[in-house]
Symmetry: C2
Subunit: 422 residues, 2 copies
C-alpha cells in the first residue's frame, strides 16, 4: 500500500523557492510541451517540470509496472483511468526519486535532463474532458443570485438544500490557462425592445474549482459517498466564463447554454486529494438533514484559499475577491454520489465543477455579477476607471492554495485575457 501523505519534513534536491505552490509534497500532474518537443506528462516541482516520460523510458519507474508510452500521450486520461493505486504509486515514487536524502536519481550525471524550467515549457490541457458537469453548490453564490433575481425571501429554490443542483455543460470549449478567450456574440434582450444581436455587454468570470474523474463506472452503477474519493483523480481551478445578458434571455426553462459554452478556462496542474489531505475540514451543518445516499462520514471539505485578480490594460493586477473552497455547502463526494444516483456512467476525464464559490462577505463574492451587485457597485481600478463587468483586454487571474504549518500546496493559476468579439 502506498501512503496518501508525503511527510511534510521531506525536502527535494531540486530547489523549491520559498512560498512555491509546488513542494515535494504536492507533485501535481500536467501535460507540457518543451520548446520543440512533443506533449507529454509531467509533474511540477518548485520552478521545474519533471518529465515523467523520460523517467519512465529510463526505467526509474519500473517497479510501478506501467504500460509503455503511458506518459508520452498528450492527455492524462489513460493514466488516470488506472485508478488511485497507480496515482499514489507514481506520486510516492517520484517523491522518493527527488528526495534530498535519496542518491538514486540525484547521483546520476544527467539528472537535469529529467527537468525543464516551468517558464520554458508550454502547459496544455491536462485531460481530454469527456463530459462536463457544473454544480451550483455555494450557498453564498446561490443566495446572492437568488436575491438579485427573486428577492431575499425566495433566494434559495426549495430543492437547493436537498440536492446538489447541477447541469451539463459544454466539454469541447474548456481551455487551459493562457489561452485567450473571445467575447461571445449572441441574442441580447434589452428591456425596452425586441431581442438584438451583438457582442455580450455583460461578460463575467465565475470563480470555481473542478475535480476530474479517474476510474470510471458503467451504466447503472451508483457511487456511494464512501466510494467517491477513489474516483477523484485531482482538482483544478476553473473559470466558468459567463455572458450574463445572453444567459438571462436564453436560460428559461432549460438552463444555461450559449451564455456559458463559448469558453471555460482551467489551471494546468491536477492536484491530488492525497496532496490536499492535510487540509480537510468539516463542512457546514446540513439542515434540513440530507437523504441517506447523500450522508457521509468524516471531514470531506477542504480549506483551499481562493483569489481572483483583475488586470486591466497597462495596470498592475488587483485582487478583487478572496474566497475559500470550504464555502461549499455540498462537497465533492456528495456531488459524485448524486451524479451517479440515477446510474449515469462516468468516464476518465469527466470534469465536475463546483459552481461559483462565494463566501458571505462582499469581498468574497466569486463573480463580477455579485462583486458589483448587478453593476450597481462598480469596482474601482488602479487607473481611476471602474469595472462592472469584464472589458476587452482585461486579464482575469485566479489562484488557489492550501497552507498550514509551513506546508503550502498550490494550484498555480488560471489566467485568461479577453479578446474583442470578432
Amino acid at each position: 500500500m502506498h501512503a496518501a501523505i508525503i511527510d511534510a519534513t521531506r525536502k527535494s534536491w531540486v530547489h523549491v523557492p520559498e512560498g512555491s505552490d509546488f513542494p515535494l509534497q504536492n507533485l501535481p500532474l500536467g501535460i507540457f510541451r518543451p520548446g520543440n518537443g512533443l506533449a507529454r506528462a509531467g509533474m511540477a516541482l518548485g520552478d521545474q517540470v519533471i518529465d515523467l516520460n523520460a523517467l519512465h523510458t529510463s526505467g526509474f519507474l519500473a517497479a510501478l509496472n506501467l504500460p509503455d508510452g503511458i506518459f508520452a500521450q498528450p492527455v492524462l486520461n489513460d493514466f488516470l483511468a488506472m485508478g488511485r493505486t497507480a496515482w499514489r504509486g507514481l506520486r510516492n515514487r517520484v517523491a522518493d526519486l527527488f528526495d534530498a536524502a535519496n542518491p538514486e536519481l540525484q547521483g546520476v550525471p544527467d539528472k537535469d535532463s529529467y527537468l525543464f524550467p516551468l517558464g520554458e515549457v508550454q502547459l496544455q490541457m491536462p485531460v481530454f474532458v469527456r463530459d462536463y458537469t457544473d454544480f451550483y453548490s455555494s450557498e453564498g453564490h446561490a443566495t446572492n443570485v437568488g436575491t438579485m433575481f427573486r428577492g431575499k425571501e425566495n433566494a434559495l429554490m426549495p430543492n437547493w438544500k436537498h440536492l446538489p443542483v447541477g447541469y451539463h455543460g459544454r466539454a469541447s470549449s474548456i481551455v487551459v490557462s493562457s489561452q485567450e478567450v473571445r467575447r461571445p456574440k449572441g441574442q441580447l434582450k434589452p428591456d425596452d425592445s425586441s431581442p438584438i444581436y451583438g457582442p455580450s455587454r455583460l461578460l463575467d468570470f465565475e470563480l470555481e474549482m473542478a475535480f476530474v474523474i479517474g476510474e470510471g463506472t458503467s451504466m447503472g452503477k451508483q457511487i456511494s459517498t464512501s466510494e467517491a474519493e477513489a474516483h477523484i483523480a485531482g482538482m483544478l481551478i476553473f473559470n466558468d466564463w459567463s455572458a450574463r445578458d445572453i444567459q438571462k434571455w436564453e436560460y428559461v426553462p432549460l438552463g444555461p447554454f450559449l451564455g456559458k459554452s463559448f469558453a471555460s478556462s482551467v489551471s494546468p496542474w491536477l492536484v491530488s486529494l492525497d496532496a490536499l489531505e492535510p487540509f480537510r475540514v468539516a463542512g457546514p451543518v446540513q439542515d434540513p438533514p440530507v437523504l441517506p445516499y447523500l450522508e457521509y462520514e468524516g471531514d470531506a471539505h477542504y480549506d483551499i484559499q481562493l483569489e481572483v485578480l483583475l488586470e486591466i490594460p497597462g495596470q498592475e493586477p488587483v485582487t478583487i475577491c478572496r474566497s475559500n473552497h470550504r464555502n461549499l455547502y455540498w462537497n465533492m463526494i456528495q456531488q459524485l454520489a448524486h451524479h451517479t444516483v440515477n446510474g449515469c456512467n462516468l468516464n476518465p476525464g469527466d470534469l465536475m465543477a463546483s459552481g461559483t464559490i462565494s463566501g458571505t462577505t462582499p469581498d468574497s463574492f466569486g463573480s463580477m455579477l455579485e462583486l458589483s451587485w448587478r453593476g450597481t457597485k462598480p469596482l474601482p481600478m488602479p487607473d481611476g476607471s471602474e469595472r462592472k463587468f469584464i472589458q476587452d483586454g482585461d486579464t482575469v487571474i485566479m489562484r488557489a492554495w492550501a497552507e498550514k504549518d509551513g506546508l503550502r500546496i498550490g494550484f498555480g493559476e488560471v489566467r485568461s485575457t479577453v479578446l474583442p468579439a470578432n
Copy 2:
C-alpha cells in the same frame, strides 16, 4: 463533384425487399460487428450490411483516396471528419458498385463476402458522441408542456420564438438500439412530504430526431445557415428517456440533469441529408421574424414520418404516436447557426437532438407525458390494462422514414426495453 442524389430509378443487384428502409438510394452509415469479428463500418442495403472495410482493403474504393483502416475503426468519427465531399464520394461509389447495371463487383465470384445479413450482425453506436445538445424546437411539444405547467396563456416562454432553446446533455450515456435501459433512482418530491429517494415512477420516452456533426469548427468560428448543411453528416432517431418526477424536482433553475442523464437511445444507421434531399419541405412561417443570423433560404425542413410503438410484456406492439419531423419550428441549420453564434467550437461526433417532436393532434404527441396528458388520459393496452407512463418490461420502439413517389428512405428503428431499478 459528386451528386447528392442517387437517381430513384436505379436498382441494386442485391435484393431489396418491398418497403425496405434501405434501398440503393439510402446507403446509411453504421458500425457493425459480425458474429466473431471486430467492429467496422458498414452501409445498410435491403436486408444486408455492406462491409466497407472489406471493400476498402480489396481496392474497390481506391479512387476515393481514403486513409488505410478508416473503416476498421469502431466509430465513424474520423471518416465523418473528412467532410461532405468524402461522404458523397463514398455513397456514390458504393451505389455504383451495387448497381444492377454494373458488373464490376456483381461479376466477382466472392461478391457475397462483402455482405452480411442484417439479422446476423450486432449494430453498435455509429459514433463516439463528443458533446450532446438537446433542443426544444417543436412548437407542439413546448406548447403542451407549457400549458400543463403554466397554463395555456403562458405556454410558450417569451424567448421561444426568437431562438431555438437548447441545453447541454450527457454524452456518455447515449446508447444504441437494443441496449436495455434501466429505470433510474433519484430524488422525488411528493406534494405532501419532504423529498424521498426511490425508483422513478414517471418514466417516459421523448420522440426526437438527432443530427451528427461531421467536419468540426474551431473556437470563435460561427456557422451561417448557408454553411450549416455541409457540417451535418446525417440523422438518427433519438429517444430522450426522461424521468418526469426526478426532472420536476431538480430542474429549477439550471435545467434537466439526472432526470435525463441515465440514458438516451439512438437508432444505428446514420442517414445522410443527401438521401433525404427529395423530402425537403418548407417550414412554418416564423412570426415574429427571426434575427438575420437565423434567416435562411430555401426549404430546410424534412418530411420524415415518425412513429412510436409500445410493446408491453406478452402483447403485440401498438402504435401510440404518429408525428413528423416537419413539425419542428426551428430547423437543423437554424439550430446549428444558433449553437455557434457565440463561437462555441464543434467536433466530429457532436450530436444535436431536436427535442420532442409533437404535432397538433393528440395522436401526434411525442411523449407519454403529453399522450396521457400528465396521466389524466391513460392509454388503453391490448390486454385491457392501461399506461400513463412506461412500466418495467415495456419496450418502446421508434421508427422514422420518408416516402414519396415509390421511394422510401428509412432509418430503421430504435428499440429499448426497460429494466427494473436495481
